[in-house]
C-alpha cells in the first residue's frame, strides 16, 4: 500500500507540473494581451510598456517560465496586475468563500441526493418514484445558471426573501463578528447554495437509485433476507453500505469543485470565490492569477482522485491493495 501510495503521489505531482507548464505556455500563445486598464479609455503606449516591464510580462517565454518556477518553488505565486496585489493574498480571500459555497452545495447535493435515491429505490416503479424521477430528471437537465436566475428573480427580486447578491450585508455586517451576522451570511448563502445543491442532488439521486437497485439484486441481499435479517438491517447494513461505494467515487469527482468554485453561479450571485476570480483573470489575461488557479485546480483534481481511491480501498475489502504493493485489485 505504501509503495502504491508513493507512486500515486509522484504521478500526481508530475501531472500537476505538466498541467501548470502547459497552462503557462498556452496562456502565452493564446490570442489576447494582458489588459492593464479599461478598454474604453485612451491608451498611453509608454505607460503600458513600463507596466508590462514592472509586472514581468515583457521577457521571452523561457525566461519568464524559469522565473515563474523559481518563484513558485519559494512559494511565491506572483503579482496580479488586474488586482494590483499578490496572487496569494487574493487566493487566501477567495478560497474560504468558495469552500463555504461549495461545501454547502455539496452538503445539500449529497444529503438530498442520497435520501431521494434511497427513497426512490425503496418505492421503485411506484408513483413517488415516478414523480421524483421526473422531477430529478428535469432539475438535472436544467442549466445551473438558468435555475440560479429563476431563483434570483422569484425569491430575490419579486418576493424579497433572500439577498440577490454578495456574501453579507455590508451595512449591518461589514465583518462577521457576531451570531447575527453569521446568520446573515447563511441567508446570503441560501440561494447560490440551493441552486448548486438542487442540480447536483438531482444527479446524485438518480445515481444512487441506480446503485441501490443494482445492489438489491445481489446474492448477499437474498442471503441476508434468508437468514432472517430485518428489512431495516438489510437496507442499512447490506444494501446501502454496498451502494455507497459508487457514492464515494462520486464524492471524489466532486472534491475539486470545493476549491475551484462554480463560475456562473459565483458571477450571478456576486459571490467572491475562486470561480469568479479565475474568470475575471482569464478575461484580462492576468497570467499569474490564471496560473495559480490552474495549479490549485489541478492539485485538487489529482488529490480528489487519490482520496477517492484510498477511501474505496478502505470501504471495500475486495479493493484493498495487495500486500505486494501492487495496484488495487
Amino acid at each position: 500500500m505504501t509503495a502504491w501510495l508513493v507512486r500515486r503521489v509522484a504521478a500526481s505531482i508530475a501531472i500537476v507540473f505538466l498541467v501548470v507548464t502547459l497552462t503557462f505556455i498556452l496562456m502565452d500563445v493564446a490570442p489576447g494581451k494582458p489588459m492593464l486598464g479599461p478598454t474604453e479609455r485612451l491608451v498611453d503606449p509608454q505607460a503600458e510598456a513600463i507596466l508590462n516591464r514592472q509586472f514581468g510580462l515583457d521577457g521571452p517565454l523561457d525566461v519568464r517560465y524559469v522565473s515563474y518556477l523559481r518563484e513558485l518553488a519559494h512559494g511565491n505565486l506572483g503579482l496580479s496586475f488586474g488586482l494590483r496585489r499578490p496572487v496569494a493574498d487574493a487566493l487566501a480571500e477567495a478560497i474560504p468563500n468558495t469552500l463555504l459555497l461549495a461545501g454547502a452545495a455539496l452538503l445539500i447535493d449529497f444529503l438530498i441526493g442520497l435520501a431521494l435515491g434511497v427513497y426512490q429505490a425503496l418505492r421503485v416503479h411506484r408513483i413517488p418514484d415516478v414523480v421524483l424521477g421526473n422531477v430529478t430528471l428535469f432539475l438535472y437537465s436544467v442549466p445551473t445558471f438558468w435555475l440560479g436566475l429563476i431563483l434570483l428573480l422569484v425569491f430575490g427580486e419579486w418576493l424579497g426573501w433572500f439577498p440577490v447578491a454578495g456574501m453579507s450585508d455590508p451595512i449591518l455586517c461589514p465583518t462577521v463578528s457576531s451570531f447575527y451576522c453569521a446568520v446573515d451570511r447563511l441567508w446570503h448563502l441560501a440561494l447560490p447554495a440551493l441552486t448548486l445543491g438542487f442540480v447536483g442532488a438531482a444527479g446524485t439521486a438518480r445515481f444512487q437509485r441506480a446503485a441501490m437497485l443494482e445492489v438489491a439484486g445481489q446474492d448477499y441481499i437474498r442471503t441476508a433476507r434468508a437468514k432472517g435479517a430485518s428489512e431495516r438491517r438489510v437496507l442499512l447494513r447490506h444494501q446501502l453500505r454496498n451502494a455507497l461505494l459508487s457514492f464515494i467515487t462520486l464524492f471524489g469527482l466532486a472534491f475539486p469543485f470545493l476549491l475551484t468554485g462554480a463560475v456562473l453561479i459565483e458571477t450571478i450571485f456576486a459571490w467572491p470565490g475562486m470561480g469568479r476570480l479565475a474568470t475575471d483573470a482569464i478575461l484580462r489575461r492576468d497570467f499569474p492569477v490564471v496560473n495559480a488557479a490552474v495549479l490549485l485546480a489541478s492539485t485538487m483534481v489529482v488529490a480528489g482522485n487519490l482520496v477517492a481511491d484510498v477511501l474505496l480501498a478502505i470501504a471495500d475489502p475486495r479493493l484493498r491493495v495487495r500486500s505486494g504493493g501492487g495496484e488495487p485489485a
Binding site: 494581451k33 455590508p170 449591518l172 446568520v183 456576486a270 469568479r276 478575461l283 489575461r285
Partner: protein
C-alpha cells in the same frame, strides 16, 4: 433533547432560529438628524487600487473622488476653456503671473485625514509622481505641457507651462488629485502599482476610508471635520458585482440605493418601474462607431483593399440607417453623434454636416466603383473578389454586439457581406494594436475636452497610440491643431467644426451612438446633482432629510 423531537418540529426550530437571527441582525440604529444616511452604490467591477495616478478604472475614480481632492474642479457646464467655470477645492484662489505661470493659494484649513496640513510641497510631489515614468501614470501624457510645479511657500504652488493655450487651467487641475507626500515618499515609485497605501488610503477629501472587502464591498465614512463642509450622507458603501444585470437587480430589489449608469433600455425600464427609485438622465461621455481599417489587415504599409477607397467608405456609411439602429438598441437614451463627438464635449452640435442615410446613392456609388453583383449571389464583387469583410466586436459588450448584427443586416441589403468576429476584450486590444482587422466596433469614454481624445484617436499623431484605423488627413490634423491652440472659445468652435466635418466627409467610421447616461437613486436621497463627467463628484452635497431616514440610514458604522 433535540433528538427526541419529531423531525418536523426540529426543522421548524431551525427555521425559526434562522428567521429570528436574520431579523435580529437588523439591529436598530440610533442615528437621527441631518447627518445620518447610508448610500449603497451598486458597482459593476471593483477598484484595482485607490491611488489616483495609478488607475483609470471607473469605480476607482468614483471612490478617489471622495478621498482625494483636486486643486479646483470643473463646473457643471464642463467648460474646459479658461478658468471661469472652475470651482475652488484645495486651492481657495489662484492667479496668473504672466502668460505661462499659474499660482495657486491653498486653503489653510485643508488637512490630511491623519491630521497633517495639505501643503504646496504635496502639490509639487504629486506633479512629480504623475509625470514620473516609474509610476507609469495614464495621465502623464495629459500633463506634457506643464513644465514644472514648485512650492513657493507652504500655501503657494506655482505651475509653469511650456506654451500658452486655452486649456492650461484645465490641464493644471483636472488630471491630478493631490497626494500626501509624507505618506508616499517612502514607497519606491516603481512599487506604487501595488503599494499598500492603495488598499488603505489616507486622503484629504470629504470621506475617510473605512474598509475594503475584496470582491464584496468598500466603505467610506464622512469626515465630520472636512474643511469645505461636513458631508450630509454619513456612509458610502460600494457593493461590487461582476455584472450589470446583478447590479440592477440589487437596485430594483432595494438592496442598493443607486447606480450611476443603467446602460440598456431594459435596465432603465426596470429601475423606472421600481417605486423606491428616481431616474436621473445626464449627458454621457461615450461615443461609439464602426471603424474601418484604412490599412490592409495586418499590413499597415498597404491600403485596405476595400476601405482604402474613400468613396466606398462613404457609400457604406450612407447605407446604414443610424437613427433606426439607435432606436432599436438604446430607445430614447442616446443620440446619433454628429461625428466623433461625445455629448460631454462643448463642441457637440447636431448641425455639423454629415453624410445622409441614402441607400440609393450608396448602391449607385458602389456600382460606379465596380462593385456589382456579377454572379447574382446577393453579394457585390469586383474582379472576382466579394465585397465582404470581418467586423471585430468585443464579446462582453451587448450594445456593440447588437449593433454589429443590425449593421450586418443593413449592409447585406446593399450587397455587402459582413462576418462578425466576437472575441474578448484582450483579443480585440491585441488585434487593434497589430492592425489585424478589417472593421471594428469601438466606443470611447471621453474626458470633458476633445483636445486630448481627438488628436490621439483621429490624427496622425495617434499612430501607435489609439488611431487604430490609421486615419490620416493633413487638413484634419491642421484643423485640430488650430482648435487646440485657439485663443478663444469661438475660434476653437469654428476650427473644431471644420475638423469634425472633415472626418465625416472622409468617413473612416460610421458614428453610431453618443450615450445619454441614466442613473437611478433611491427617492429618499435629496439634492442629487450629477456632473456629467463624474457622477460622484458632488455626492458630498447630497443629503437624506431626517424625515426620510430608513433603518439602514440609522445604523451606526
Amino acid at each position: 433533547m433535540l433528538s427526541a423531537m419529531p423531525l418536523e418540529r426540529r426543522l421548524a426550530l431551525v427555521l425559526a432560529t434562522l428567521v429570528l437571527g436574520s431579523t435580529a441582525c437588523q439591529r436598530a440604529g440610533s442615528c437621527t438628524g441631518a447627518y445620518c444616511g447610508t448610500l449603497v452604490i451598486g458597482a459593476v467591477g471593483e477598484p484595482d487600487i485607490l491611488l489616483p495616478p495609478s488607475t483609470q478604472e471607473g469605480v476607482s475614480r468614483d471612490i478617489d473622488e471622495q478621498l482625494f481632492l483636486k486643486l479646483a474642479d470643473i463646473g457643471l457646464s464642463t467648460n474646459t476653456i479658461g478658468d471661469e467655470d472652475f470651482q475652488p477645492l484645495l486651492a481657495e484662489r489662484w492667479e496668473w503671473d504672466g502668460p505661462l505661470t499659474l499660482v495657486f493659494h491653498l486653503d489653510p484649513r485643508a488637512r490630511w485625514q491623519d491630521g497633517q496640513p495639505v501643503t504646496a510641497s504635496d502639490v509639487a510631489f504629486t506633479f512629480d509622481a504623475y509625470t514620473d515614468s516609474l509610476v507609469a501614470s495614464p495621465y502623464r501624457a495629459a500633463l506634457r505641457r506643464v513644465a514644472s510645479v514648485t512650492a513657493r511657500d507652504p500655501q503657494t504652488a506655482v505651475f509653469r507651462f511650456r506654451e500658452k493655450y486655452p486649456e492650461m487651467f484645465y490641464d493644471a487641475v483636472y488630471h491630478m488629485r493631490v497626494l500626501p507626500a509624507h505618506l508616499l515618499r517612502g514607497t519606491p515609485r516603481d512599487q506604487w502599482r501595488t503599494a499598500p497605501f492603495g488598499r488603505q488610503p489616507v486622503g484629504d477629501g470629504p470621506y475617510r476610508f473605512v474598509s475594503w472587502k475584496a470582491g464584496q464591498s468598500l466603505e467610506l465614512v464622512a469626515d465630520s471635520t472636512f474643511f469645505l463642509g461636513r458631508p450630509a450622507i454619513r456612509r458610502l458603501i460600494w457593493r461590487f458585482t461582476p455584472d450589470l444585470m446583478v447590479a440592477t437587480t440589487q437596485l430594483v430589489a432595494d438592496q442598493a440605493d443607486g447606480r450611476d449608469q443603467l446602460v440598456t433600455p431594459d435596465n432603465i425600464g426596470r429601475a423606472a418601474a421600481a417605486p423606491q427609485l428616481t431616474i436621473y438622465p445626464y449627458r454621457g461621455a461615450t461615443y461609439g462607431y464602426m471603424g474601418f481599417n484604412l490599412a490592409a489587415n495586418g499590413d499597415t504599409t498597404q491600403p485596405h483593399p476595400i476601405f482604402g477607397d474613400r468613396d466606398v467608405r462613404r457609400a457604406l456609411t450612407m447605407a446604414v440607417d443610424r437613427a433606426s439602429l439607435l432606436k432599436s438598441v438604446f430607445g430614447d437614451y442616446a443620440k446619433v453623434p454628429p461625428g466623433p463627438v461625445s455629448q460631454l464635449w462643448w463642441i457637440w452640435d447636431p448641425e455639423m454636416r454629415q453624410l445622409p442615410y441614402d441607400t440609393t446613392r450608396a448602391k449607385w456609388t458602389l456600382s460606379s466603383h465596380g462593385w456589382r453583383d456579377s454572379d447574382k449571389d446577393g453579394i457585390r464583387d469586383r474582379d472576382g473578389q466579394p465585397l465582404a469583410f470581418h467586423l471585430l466586436v468585443s464579446s462582453v459588450s451587448t450594445i456593440r454586439k447588437t449593433y454589429a448584427r443590425l449593421i450586418q443586416e443593413q449592409l447585406r441589403q446593399v450587397g455587402v457581406q459582413v462576418e462578425i468576429d466576437e472575441v474578448d476584450n484582450s483579443v480585440v486590444s491585441e488585434r487593434l494594436a497589430a492592425g489585424k482587422f478589417d472593421a471594428v466596433m469601438l466606443a470611447w469614454q471621453t474626458d470633458p475636452t476633445p483636445s486630448s481624445g481627438v488628436p490621439q484617436v483621429w490624427t496622425r499623431g495617434g499612430f501607435g497610440r489609439s488611431n487604430y484605423l490609421r486615419y490620416d488627413n493633413p487638413a484634419f490634423d491642421a484643423l485640430v491643431d488650430k482648435a487646440t491652440s485657439a485663443a478663444t472659445r469661438a475660434q476653437a468652435r469654428v476650427a473644431w467644426r471644420g475638423a469634425i466635418e472633415t472626418v465625416n466627409a472622409d468617413a473612416p467610421a460610421i458614428f453610431l451612438f453618443a450615450t445619454d447616461n441614466v442613473a437611478a437613486f433611491h427617492k429618499r436621497v435629496a439634492d442629487v446633482r450629477i456632473r456629467p463627467d463624474s457622477w460622484a463628484a458632488l455626492v458630498r452635497t447630497w443629503r437624506i432629510p431626517p424625515d426620510r431616514l430608513i433603518d439602514r440610514d440609522r445604523v451606526e458604522p
